[in-house]
């Protein structure tokens, strides 16, 4: 059996395959993936990462305008180098883009033709063509995201990037566009905050972000990684290539405690004006508590504390789980019971991620409570044996857990992919403002399910 022994039983898809990395490309203006894959691969990604993930599609290049060689059986037998060349050649003429990524999926990778040769053939000084191999058999979309970033850094940022260092400029890393369903709204809010404290954030994805931001990468004073493990490799690469130091703040802040911590770390790193940043912290925290205090009757009088969810489970990406754990444990007073991370965190990062959860959970979690898995359905199975008569807990996860939670009558909040077949728009849980929204979502769902009562 070899590597297959002890093989788990993966169900409930919560990741795309490597090819899902194209969403990172599609989030950067002026970058166009050109697929060398089967005709349905784009749709397999679209389903998990965009359509059923808060109804968000990339703009302007919506999925079905993405060029693709639509490989067939004949191509596997006779080769498909001609086909991808033809598609790429037209794509270069038809799409307003500057970077064209030839993305190879499983079938193209099995055929195994040399795409570097194709890329070199079609690259011009105005248009960069880069090959990126993203077959699903090599990894999931988080891995794919890393491959895209790495290809862009090596193939575009290094040769065409600006040089020199701009004081206060900071590249924001750690967010995987679309895989973090709230990526767009979150990055906008983060950008505002970083500007407010006196930094010049260089954000790569979203509205109006594109080639210029890529070119600026080498000029950052430092890189900021806002995730437990994603993009750490990219930050190390940037350090190697451009000597840019990086700050690893392990979660996108949600809630007043995390937000203040981030601002203080940045203040120290970039030697910002302490008085100014402290007053920003105070103002934002005050605002949070003004709105929080306006709920005191509802929270602690009408719906007494006994019926509010006091504990929680998470079944989602390490990033989303850690962000909400920080808020729920440090600000809202809930305790984690078990954290499932069904995203295939690479082995080398697992110890670090586990430690982060242990630290963030203030001792409420034991080592075995952090479960690394590729099986999204494990949580549902686990829950069957959990006695819930006295310890009603909330669930944070994806649409799959929505049903699990409904059946178990537990409050539920979606935080990860696939977010749901609903519209996410610019929703985010970032910082103090976002935390209020998260709190409302949590307690509203408990209320809707009839869990909050003054008389129990």
């Amino acid at each position: 059996m070899g590597e297959n022994s002890g093989f788990s039983c993966p169900e409930q898809q919560r990741v795309g395959c490597g090819l899902g990395g194209i969403y990172t490309a599609l989030s950067i203006g002026g970058v166009l993936p050109v697929l060398h894959s089967g005709p349905g691969c784009i749709h397999a990604m679209n389903s998990v990462l965009s359509l059923s993930n808060g109804g968000q599609n990339p703009v302007p290049f919506m999925e079905l305008s993405v060029p693709c060689s639509n490989l067939s059986e004949e191509d596997v037998v006779f080769g498909a180098g001609g086909k991808i060349r033809s598609v790429l050649e037209h794509a270069l003429r038809y799409y307003k883009a500057e970077i064209f990524l030839i993305i190879t999926g499983c079938s193209a990778e099995i055929i195994g033709e040399d795409m570097q040769e194709v890329a070199d053939e079609f690259s011009t000084p105005e248009k960069t063509v880069l090959p990126v191999a993203l077959p699903g058999f090599k990894g999931n979309n988080v891995w794919g995201h890393g491959q895209i970033l790495s290809a862009l850094i090596d193939g575009f940022v290094e040769p065409y990037g600006e040089r020199g260092t701009v004081k206060g400029r900071v590249n924001v890393l750690g967010v995987v566009p679309f895989y973090d369903p709230m990526w767009a709204g979150t990055l906008e809010r983060l950008e505002c905050l970083l500007k407010q404290i006196g930094l010049e954030p260089n954000i790569l994805y979203g509205r109006d972000k594109g080639i210029q931001e890529l070119k600026r990468i080498p000029t950052a004073e430092f890189n900021l990684v806002l995730a437990p493990w994603t993009d750490l490799d990219a930050a190390k690469k940037l350090k190697r290539k451009f000597g840019t130091p990086y700050v690893h703040f392990p979660y996108m802040p949600v809630g007043p405690t995390a937000e203040a911590e981030l601002i203080r770390v940045l203040t120290e790193t970039a030697a910002l004006d302490v008085q100014k940043t402290e007053s920003i912290i105070k103002d934002r925290t005050d605002r949070y508590f003004y709105y929080f205090d306006r709920n005191l009757n509802w929270l602690f009088d009408m719906h007494n504390q006994r019926s509010l969810p006091r504990e929680f489970f998470a079944n989602t990406s390490a990033s989303a789980a850690l962000s909400i754990t920080k808020y729920l444990v440090w600000d809202l007073g809930l305790s984690p019971r078990k954290i499932f991370i069904p995203e295939d965190v690479p082995k080398k990062h697992q110890p670090g991620v586990r430690d982060l959860f242990l630290q963030t959970a203030k001792g409420y979690l034991k080592e075995e409570d952090i479960v690394f898995t590729d099986d999204g359905g494990l949580f549902e199975q686990y829950l069957k044996d959990v006695d819930q008569t006295v310890r009603k807990s909330a669930v944070f996860g994806s649409i799959w857990d929505d049903i699990t939670a409904k059946k178990a009558n537990m409050p539920f909040v979606p935080v990860g992919t696939p977010y749901g077949d609903n519209l996410i728009c610019d929703k985010n849980y970032f910082g103090t403002d976002g935390a209020l929204c998260l709190m409302a979502d949590l307690y509203n769902d408990a209320e809707k399910k009839g869990l909050l009562s003054a008389v129990i």
Binding site: C9, E11, P39, N46, L49, S65, R93, Y95, K96, K407
Partner: protein, 523 residues
Amino acid sequence: MPIDLNQEEPQIRELRTRSVTGYDGTLKDITQQGCCGCLKNKKRCFTTGSYCTHLPAITSVLGLPDTLVVDHAPIGCCGVEMTFSGGYSMNEPFAPGEYRDNVRMFTSKLTESDTVFGGEEKLKEVVRGAFHRHHPKEIYIATSCTSSIIGEDVGAAAAEMTEELGIPVTVLGAAGMRSNLWSVGFEAHFHSVGKTRFRAPEKKTDTIVYAGFASVASEAVEPIFKKLGLDMAFLTAGSTKEDYEKACTARVSFGQCDVDASYILTYLEQEYGVKYFHLHQPNGGIGFERFMRDLGGYLGREKEAEEIIREEREKYREKIEELKPLLKGKTALVALGAGYAFEMVRMLKELGMEAVHAVSFHYDPLIDATEDRTARSPVADAEELGIDYPVTVNNAQEMENYLIVKKYKPDIVVTRAHGAGSWSAFTGVPCLDPGLGINIIGYRGLYLFADALASSFRNTAVFDALKARYVSPFTDEFEALPPHSFYAKAGEEGVPHKPYKKSGEEVLSWERIADSPARSSRE
């Protein structure tokens, strides 16, 4: 050729029904070429991403009660299922207040080393694990591009698991690269489920089978068939074993469209003598009248059929007439699957609108049920009604559709689920999902469609706003192209600008591929 469910998966449509995905011309022309057997597929030198069999095959099976699917594929492929199940099956209505279970979708998660050393052991492990986790009554193992390229013997694994677990474990043919038509996945679903569930009936019953995606709105048609003395049986993405068994006892059948239903209904006719009505689909008023007369004639219940037609026509006449002035003179462009595109054009015409162009996501010159190439519903429309209009065939090639919409400037684009709606809205052209299945049947269906169209024209503010803001992300060169610019030039058949020389020897081109023995031996 008879349909053989003992095979692992259906033969692809390119071979069975001689289907094409590249054509432009008119309805008269395509139907005539189809009839004489000379319709040729046009190949493209530029293509965009589309769909594959994985989606319809898997999503159709996932909704079946007490079943589960194991995708024998790398981790990404089974993602297709989220679109239509969103984590749970929306295929059939469910009692209010009761929550469905999550659909049960597993993957064998083929890795790079599996592509070298094989993944069958791993597959069996997942099948076992899935069985012990959920105790389903049936398991389907979906094949994928990767499992078929590396030559996995999924059939052997399924047979072994059937033996070991004591429930049917069946292969579900879902390798996307087998066909250019994703609709092959619909028949793959019926093929595998039919193989598992059909039983020779002990007796015949007065039943009419309906095959389609869902039985939504069944209450609207059941009383109609009751008047002809017929009960209904549904073969849909939510059917039980009993539904399949009941279908075998039926006398007659029809489907939501001949793309989804023809394969399985042909099989029922072939094996159990269930007469399949396909020449006239019962959609809209005209379709309904023709279909009812065919059916009434066959059953010897002509009088009842005429009575039903009269009643239905009368029931919706006023409502439809009221809406017609709002639709008069409006133009529409249709972009739908082959089973619906031509049907919706006829319904638009019935409502007094003009269909300026129809894009069909493929075209079948033949239907499974018969060798007679004239027995096709688009042919019936062209000949019986004498209608004609420009037609394009492409497998959801949105860059092509973009240019077609741009050329025809319709008042509305009637489309669904394959990208044309998003792009027409983005560029400021109103679009509408016309509905499908039972909801477009008969005068009721015509009324619902008319009402939806009228509401679309009532307030177009959202499209107007998008139009005012639209900036094309494409180059001027692209924007200036005529619609059908992506066909490989005659004699070139997709030879790229710079022919690809594989290590300096032979030139690979699409032409060679097209003429390869693999293709010609099948003709």
